[in-house]
Each structure stands twice: as structure tokens, then as C-alpha cells.
Symmetry: C2
Subunit: 680 residues, 2 copies
Amino acid sequence: MGSVEKLPHPFDPLIPGEIEAAISVVKKAHGDVHFNVVTLHEPRKAEMKAWLAAPESAPRPKRIADVVVIAPGGGVYDGLVDLAGPTITYWGLLDGEQPIITMEELQLVEHIVRKDPGVIEQCRLSGIPAEDMHKVYCDPWTIGYDERFGNAVRLQQAFMYYRPDVDSCQYQYPLDFCPIYDADKQQIIAIDIPKVRRPLSKEPPVDYHPAAVNARGGYRDNLKPINITQPEGVSFQLSGRTITWQNWSFHIGFSYREGIVLHDVTFADKGVVRPLFYRLSLAEMVVPYGNPEHPHQRKHALDQGEYGAGYMANSLSLGCDCKGSIHYLDAHFPTRAGGVRTIKNAICIHEEDSGILFKHNDFRDDSVIVTRGRKLVIQQVFTAANYEYVVAWQFHQDGTIQPEIKLTGILNTYAMDPDEDTKGWGTQVFPGVNAHNHQHLFCLRANPNIDGEGNTVYVTDAVASDAPVGSEENFYGNAFYNKRTKLATTGEAKTDYNGATSRTWEVCNPNKLNPISRKPVSYKLVSREVAGLLPKEGSLVWKRAAFARHAVHVTKYRDDQLWPAGRHVPQTSGEPSKGLPEWIGDGTESIDNTDVVLWHTWGLTHFPAPEDFPVMPAEPMTLLLRPRNFFTGNPVMDVPPSYASTPSQVAAGNKGVLNAADSLSRLAFGNATGGSCCAT
Amino acid sequence: MGSVEKLPHPFDPLIPGEIEAAISVVKKAHGDVHFNVVTLHEPRKAEMKAWLAAPESAPRPKRIADVVVIAPGGGVYDGLVDLAGPTITYWGLLDGEQPIITMEELQLVEHIVRKDPGVIEQCRLSGIPAEDMHKVYCDPWTIGYDERFGNAVRLQQAFMYYRPDVDSCQYQYPLDFCPIYDADKQQIIAIDIPKVRRPLSKEPPVDYHPAAVNARGGYRDNLKPINITQPEGVSFQLSGRTITWQNWSFHIGFSYREGIVLHDVTFADKGVVRPLFYRLSLAEMVVPYGNPEHPHQRKHALDQGEYGAGYMANSLSLGCDCKGSIHYLDAHFPTRAGGVRTIKNAICIHEEDSGILFKHNDFRDDSVIVTRGRKLVIQQVFTAANYEYVVAWQFHQDGTIQPEIKLTGILNTYAMDPDEDTKGWGTQVFPGVNAHNHQHLFCLRANPNIDGEGNTVYVTDAVASDAPVGSEENFYGNAFYNKRTKLATTGEAKTDYNGATSRTWEVCNPNKLNPISRKPVSYKLVSREVAGLLPKEGSLVWKRAAFARHAVHVTKYRDDQLWPAGRHVPQTSGEPSKGLPEWIGDGTESIDNTDVVLWHTWGLTHFPAPEDFPVMPAEPMTLLLRPRNFFTGNPVMDVPPSYASTPSQVAAGNKGVLNAADSLSRLAFGNATGGSCCAT
Ligand SMILES: [Co+2]
Ligand SMILES: [Co+2]
């Protein structure tokens, strides 16, 4: 208002100037600390809702930076900076909590291990001479939690590998020992060494770089190009970071922690803007490994809380990660020393043809309507050491939201002897390489406002009637129905998946009935890739990643309850469990007809196989948030059809039919078959 | 060999000349019968395997027509015609069996009901005057099984609708009574009339034809074109109906019954052709409805056995059903009177970009490889009265086969009074329109020959170790593994889905161990959309559609055991159950290391909602057949990357990197962001 410059939207991630301002005021007050986090402290929801309802008259929510630093000596501080000053409005020392591990911290470890005499000795024992230490690499991971060390000292564990050549695939020569790194001292403080040693493999490499592929016979040359172009431009608009497309509107944020964050998701239904979700994100994940032998139990990355899906984001590139007509958004983060790091093209946005949207053909006369669909994709890729995760938020014209995650990258690997028995805890995926069983479990966080305030979650099961065959109510035995069970309290809402009943969860607004079906308006969570947490009750993973104990939890909304494994995740012991269990407490809180948050853990169990090596073909997993009883009719009936003929037109020799078939489509072999659209 | 003309491949569907030849010899011998089926009698597998192994020297399997006719008076005959003569080699009268219902039989019913005095009277009672009978339509369905009539007489039930205008959507004005049609007499022999009558709805129509949409405000105009072109042609080749693409090879058949049938599916692994499936198809389906009130229990279409996914196939059109560079195959069927009916473009074949195939980024230096994937799609669409099913067999470069079915079209609807309680058995989707709960269950039939002869099926579950937390074997409680249970007999093989263990089924070749993992080579069935059959044990549907009782059945291969609900499906009583239960018998037959057939029933339960009306946005369901321990490494490492840089190249300022990014991709808004691929 006062400024000629356009102010950032209250949901916008901090812009570089804001990051710099926050850093500057913190440095002035607290000296040369290491900056782990300088991020948007999201507006209080009550204030934000008031502003969204009346941006011209309501007070504009303040821009606040949420700051986490490590002081020399290892002290960890949480702080808040009001950027209007800028002024530090909160500063507090933490006790026994470790903040997120930055890329810079990770990158440092390799340099330390290479010089550590203990590591050099272990390498020598493995068969690597001291002069080859530059060929030794490590993937530093958070230590998870190791009871020998607790969480007062900031630690990482280093998974060790050997690269015979700088360009070699690292994961084919794993070493069998595991140094533990003290991040404050920048020293190796222990090395976990297995009882049975496994010397460095001498297997010839299976590298995947072009020179290696060419040496093995080269690339296949039988793929003809597929060109995807939008000569008239794209069908979406952006105003700042708010996108509109096909009745959808939402704000696209990006956090160091969750990566893509969507706010204020609405759908314009015949011109009436109807709210759906105040906030949507993937809020946490955990990748537990299933080998019980020490120290492999420590492998259970909570990648978002421990490293950050934003911090690990790839810089995407046109024609590689995305194809067609693409819009990119950059991401800005602090460096440890207090600069600004920019990830160019951290988010890509594009449309895709999605095949037949709807079709009906009358069997009497072949009168037909066929309409093609379109989706909007908001995508990022992040690299968690060995793994790549391709996260795509897909929006369909019919009101469906479909997050999809593709898993690719490289397996975390461990050494094995040629005749070693993996005991069922892993698979030899390459000679000398044991890839352990693991799970990829993601936690979707949805703060719905389906058609406005006051939402309730039901679990819904497809079940047969109780009445037996031959009874009056169910004489032929065919009766079945949608059994709805209200989740009235946070305790009741701890629910598991049930494949036998095709279980779904329904987020409904009990205050709004669909005038046609007379059922509450709702969005349904349809999720079928729902592996339960396999680490047992009482296990370290079960304690630390409590969100994964059930497929669904529901809590009452509170500001700042964003991340279900807690705010600071590295080195939590799980005693007590942070995040969701704290918020749920004794489970008696009502979540009926109020502001609720749905937490859904989904994912898959990965038993590695040789086809996953050296790089895994992408494996997708997906779920749907579908409108059910939300609209009074199919909301895509006004999408222009490719072809539409009516019985009267067919009777008149197809006179007057609507023919808007894609005129660039061609017959593959240019023969006589085919011809004009739908001329059957 | 002897002929200059190219002979049909033994797997090819009958060509028009063969259909004509078979009809001609049958007519000569048996007079003017009605032809329900004239189709390829598939070669005996033993002969066919011998020929496939040595096509130059082994005897070429004979071309045989499988014929089903209805003689005047209703006698049903099965016959075989050796097309070399042509000579009738088998002819047999059936007792109490009804053959598939043809489109011509279906189309006839409407003309009969319009003239039937009883129907006219019921229409009058509903509020339709006799002079408007041309506005009365019916969807004739098989009667399923009605104990009042049995199966000696060929029957259909007629679901009645009113169209105020010839171009109106039929399903918005359902009528409440149900005539029963005798196909031999061509007469209505009974009318099922509910106790409570529901007069014709007076609701204004919600038509979906262009004139109606335009009258309601017109089409949205904010979709910019997406062009998909292959200027250098497609990457697949066809020789006859045998396709080769990206190491895949298979024969594409098409039957009146199953639609697309794939034979002799192989994958060339580093030049070695490895067999995967002798035959793959969707062999049957059932759509049970969940309203127990008479006569709705009769609604449970076994669409493939009762009408045929081939007979109901749509003629597809360029730029509508399929976009890009497409190849089409036609289908040829007999007419009832003994002619040939051709469905032009019954199958479409095309390639699609499928996003990132694999990617890995080194977090140390952002050296990266990113490769885009491609899929091959073999697609058909069939219309089962109100519903459309889009069946796409998708082949991925990594050896995965992914059948996908999209459900679209229109709900089967029934009349309801304005204040009627649907009692949970259905939903009011439009005023006066009750859409009943139903399931869409499909039976995938796979006759595997994974890496050759002798296959065994295992059920595999992701489970935690039995050892408790704190025990020596599982101290930290994180142990989990892939539990494999051999299905040794047909009885043991009756298995259900278990979502809690992410259950999969593994078809393996116990005679071939993967040299790396030392596990049997296998293909894994990963299927997550697996609704169990909701009609109860002992119900009519349970008896008639026995294949749907379990997610998986396995039988020993026998010629002609193709369709799991039996050869002739209409009007079966289910006493005894046909097809699978007959073949499984007492369940003691060994299916270990032999020629096995895997039957997998999958699908979803559909509780209708207003968004499904008047036409449903397509809802996809899919499954994967994935190679696991089949290859010795990732089989797509030789797919050319879009971009690849190595650490040494990054260190040298990206000198020498492989940059083959799609050069036609563009920035959406043509601003300064972006630029050349992967130049981060
Ligand atoms: Co994995
Ligand atoms: Co349906």
C-alpha cells in the first residue's frame, strides 16, 4: 500500500532481500553463527484468513523470518525476526535438539574422513592404500539416534564408498565400516566396524556415464523424437506465485523443509469460488531399512526433517526434467555463513494432455461425444544422497488433486562377500553389493476447508450388507454399501488402511449438504499404495517416526504444527515421540466440525533387485483427493469436445457435427487407414 | 510356403475371407442360422509352440474357425470349421446354454418394446402417452439369471428410459419397470413392476450435446492447444500384427470376447530373446450392483462373456481417442445373418513420452544424468450400453507391462421419487435419478512362460521379523523381509489381497536363478486396486462369477480354458459354477514348475455421486507386471540420456557433457529464466 514496489504475498517464501535482512540483524546481535534455517514463519492462520477475505481492508500479515542457528561451541538457537524492522522478536537456546543438516554440513564430512587416521587404517584393511584416499567417498547421513551418543553432540554417520575413477558410480564399491562424525569438532569420534570384514570388491565397474555405456556397445538408436509444443502459449496464468488454471487457483510456496507448499487451494464452481484446502504439502517422510544388524538400524532417514526437500531440490532444466512449455520458479535459501543460495528452476509448472476426459457412444447409432483431458503439473525433484524423488502435484480439470512421487536414483548399498548370505534382509544387486530392504513412507499433510469452515473426517469402507443370503432384506445376497464411520476425536482418528474394504477417508463439511445427493460435500482420499510401518512397535523408527504408525491421523488445527515428527528432527530419541503424539495427547480432543488437519502416511516397501542397479527406473506412487458429492454435476461438461455427434445429426448423415479433432495427429505409417475424426 | 499370398499368422484373428468361408460352409450344411460367433479357434499350444520354435520346418498350425449359431427355434450349436477345406469338423447341439448376445440382438429389443401393449400401458401409467412411444428407449441387458425362467429360453431384460428429445441424454429419465424379452419369439413375455410406482420425472434435462452446453453458457475458451508430433515417424515396427518396440515383441490379436489379446510376449535382453507370456488378456469382467430389491439383483453384467469387449469395440479416431502418431488395426466379425462387419480402427497403437525414466544427481558437484522414458500403448475402447471402458496395454522400456482401464461413460440409472430414501444402496445423482452402488471387477488372464517353461506362483508379503524388539536377532526392532509362500496346488492358489502386507504375487521360473541375486527370475504382479467381491458367498453373483471370489487363482494350462466364467455365459445359473471352479476341482492339482495360468481379479467399488452425471470423468485403474530378479541389471541404461555430466566434466567447466535436451521445449512466458539444459 505504502510502497511502490510490489510487496511479497504473505504466503511467498522469503525473497533474497528478506533473507539477507534477517541474517544481518542476527549477525549484529549474535555474531558469526552458522545459519541452518532462515525461512518464512508462516502467517498466523486467523490473521491470514482475515486478510485473504479482505486484502484491501484487513491488516496485512507481517513478514516474519523463522531462524535457526548453531553458535560456535554447538549451541542451537531458535529465533524470529520481524522483517519490518528488522527486529529479533524471539531468541531461545535449545536443549538436546539438533536442527536440520544442511548440504554444506554434509559436504564437509568427506574431506574430514579422508584425512582421519582411523578411517585411513580401515581403508587400508579393506584394500585401499593410503595414497588412494582421494578415491574414498562418503554419503553422510544423520545418525538417526545412537544411544551411545545421545543428542547433545551434533553427529553424522558416514556411509563409505570407493570410486576407482572420479566418474565411477559410487554405490558399486561400498565399504563395510561406518565412521561417526562430530559436526562441532569436525572430527571422527568413532568407527563402527563389523565383526566379519568384507574387503573391497574387485568387480569391474558397471558405470552409467556415456563413455562407459559407449564402451559397452553404446546407446540404442531406435527412438524417434516426440515433440510436445504449445505454439499459442500455456493455459495457466500466474500473478506473483498464485496460479489460476481451469477453475483452480492456489498459491505455490516452497520451503526448505517440505519443498512445494500449496496454500489457499480453491475451485471456481460455475463462477463461485469454493475453498478446498488452506494448505497442502508433503510434510515428512521416513525411509526405514530392514536389516537388524548393528549399525544398520540407524538407517532410517526422515529426509524432510533431517535434510529438507527444499534444501535438496534439484535445479531443473528445460527439455530434460520437463518437456513442452514450462514455467519455472527459483528457490532462495541461506548459506551457513550467512549468504543467499539460489536454486534456479527449483519448481517447474506445465500442462499435459491426459488422454480421454470423458466419452460416451450410443450403441444404437454410434452418435458419440469424446473430450480430451488436461492436467496441470507442479513438480520438483530432490536428491537425498543416493535417491531421487520426483514430486508432482497434479491438478485435473474435474477437481481431482493427484500428488505423485516417482522414485529413482540409486540404492543405498552395503558391502557383501561373494558367498555371503543376505539372510533375507537384502539382495545382491551387483557382485559384492548388498541393497537392504527398506520402505519409502511419505506423510501428506492436508489442512482442508472443504467448502468453508468446519470439516469432519470419516473413514469409509465398502462392505456387504449384514443380512444373510435368503433374508428378506438381502434375498439374493448382492447388497453392499458405503459404510461411513465418523472420526470424532483424535484418538478415534488413528486409522489403518484396509485393502479388503477398499478403504477411503472422506473429508466432509457437515454444514453443507449436496442439494442433489443430500450428502455432505466432501473430498475423498483414495490411496492404495499404503504400506504399513514395518519396524515394530517400540522400535527406534516407530518411536521417532510416529506419524507412520497409522495410515491416517487427524488433529485439530494449530499454528506451527506443520511437521509430524517435530520441528527439530535429527537425533531425536523418540522418547517421548515428537510431533503428532504430542499434539494428539490422550486422544480425547474433538475433531468434529472444526478446523482439522489430515495426516496421511503412504508409500511402498522396496525389496531391491538387480534391475534397480546401477540407477533405478522410476517407480511411481500416487493417490487421489477426489470431489465426491461436492459438485451438483460433472464439472467438466463445458470442456470443448474433440468430437460430438447427436442421434439427429447421425441420422442426417453427420451434418452439423462438432469436429474439433486435433488436426496435427497423423497416421503412423501414412497408409490409407484412418482419415478424418470419428468418420466411422 | 506354397502360396504366393501371405498367409495369416496362426495367431491372427480370422480375416474377412476366412469368416465368409466358415459361414458359407455352415450355411450350406445347416441353412439360415443366426451367427453369434465366427472367430479364431486358437491353435493348440503344443503345435503352436513347435511352430514358433521352427516356423520354417514345423507344421503350420491349421486355421480353424470356432462357430456358434442359433438355429430357428432357438437351438444353439457349437461348431468348428477347418478353413483349409473349408470343412465342418465338429457340430454339436447345446443344452441349456445361451451364447453371447450380439449387438444386433440388443438393438432389436427397443423396436419390440415400443410396440408391446403391456409396455405401452406401463409407459402410460408412468406418464408417457402412447403417441410418445418413439421417445421410449431401452438398454437391453442379459437377464443374468432369473429362477422364474431358467435358461432354456433366450432372454433379455430391458432397462427403460425416456428421451424427451432424440438428442437427449437417455439416462436422466429412467422408468421404473422392466420388461423381459424372449429373443426367439421376439416378444415381451413378462414385465417386472415395482410395488411403489415412480412416475416419469419432469426435471428439465441436463443434456451434454453441444447445443445444450451452448444454451447453458457455452464451452470454456481458455485451453491452448498441446501439439504432439513425431516428424521422423514412430519407433515401433509392425510385421503383420507382430509389433517390435524397445526390445519388446508380441503379436496383437483381437477377439469378439476379450478385445485385445497379446500372444508370445518377449523381451530381448542384450540381444537374447527371453519369453515372458504366451498369452495375455482381460478374459472376463463382472459389474455387480448392490441394490437388493428385486429385480435389481439381476444387474451384474459379465460384459465380456455376455456381450464381448470385441463386439462392443468403438471405432477410434485420430486426434480424439488418440493423439500424436497412431497406427490402427481393424476388427472383423460376422453379422447375425452371415455377412462380415468391420470395425475400423478398433485398436490404436502409439508411443507416449512418460516423463523421467531415471535420474541421479551427485550432491557434491551436481554432476547429473537424466533420461526420459517412453511407453507404447495398445488401446481399445468398448461401450457396454451406458459405460465406456478404455483399455490400454502399456509397455515400458524397463520391462514393465501396465494394463490400465479408464472408466467413463454414463451410470446405469433407475427412477426415484423426489423424497425417496435410497437406503444407502444408491445415490441421487440428478433429481429423480438413483444410481445404484456397483463394482467393476476385471479378470486378467496371464499364461506366463517367464524365461521359458516351468513357472511357479508365490504370494509375497512384506512382513516384520517375528523376533521381538530387544531380542538378539532384532534388537532394534527394525527387521523386515519379503515373505514368499509357494502356491503349490490350485487349492492353495486361491488367495486374497492383503493391503496390510502390500501383497504381491510373483510368477517365477524356479529353473532359472538370477546370477546376481541368486533368486529365481520372476515377474511380479503389483496390483493395488483390488476390491473384493461384495455380493456374499452363495449369492447369485458369487455363483456365476466365481473368478471374482479371490484376487488370484492359478490353474494348470489347458487348451480352450480361456474364459473364467465359462464358454457360454448368458443365463448361467451358477449351479454348478462354470469355468474356474470346474477347472480347479478339488484343488489338489499341482501347479508347481509347470505351465500355469494366473487369473487376477481387480477393480473398484463405485458409490455414485453427482459429479458422475451426466457423463463420468474418466477414472483410471491400473496394475503392474514388473520384472524382479529377471534382469542382471537395469535394462534401460542404454536409453540415450537428455543430459549427462560426470564429476570430471563438471570440474572442467562442463566441457564434453552430453546435452541432448529436447530443443523444442520452451519457457511458458518467454522470460529470461531458464536457458540451456542443465546449465545450473
Ligand atoms: Co527404494
Ligand atoms: Co461405475
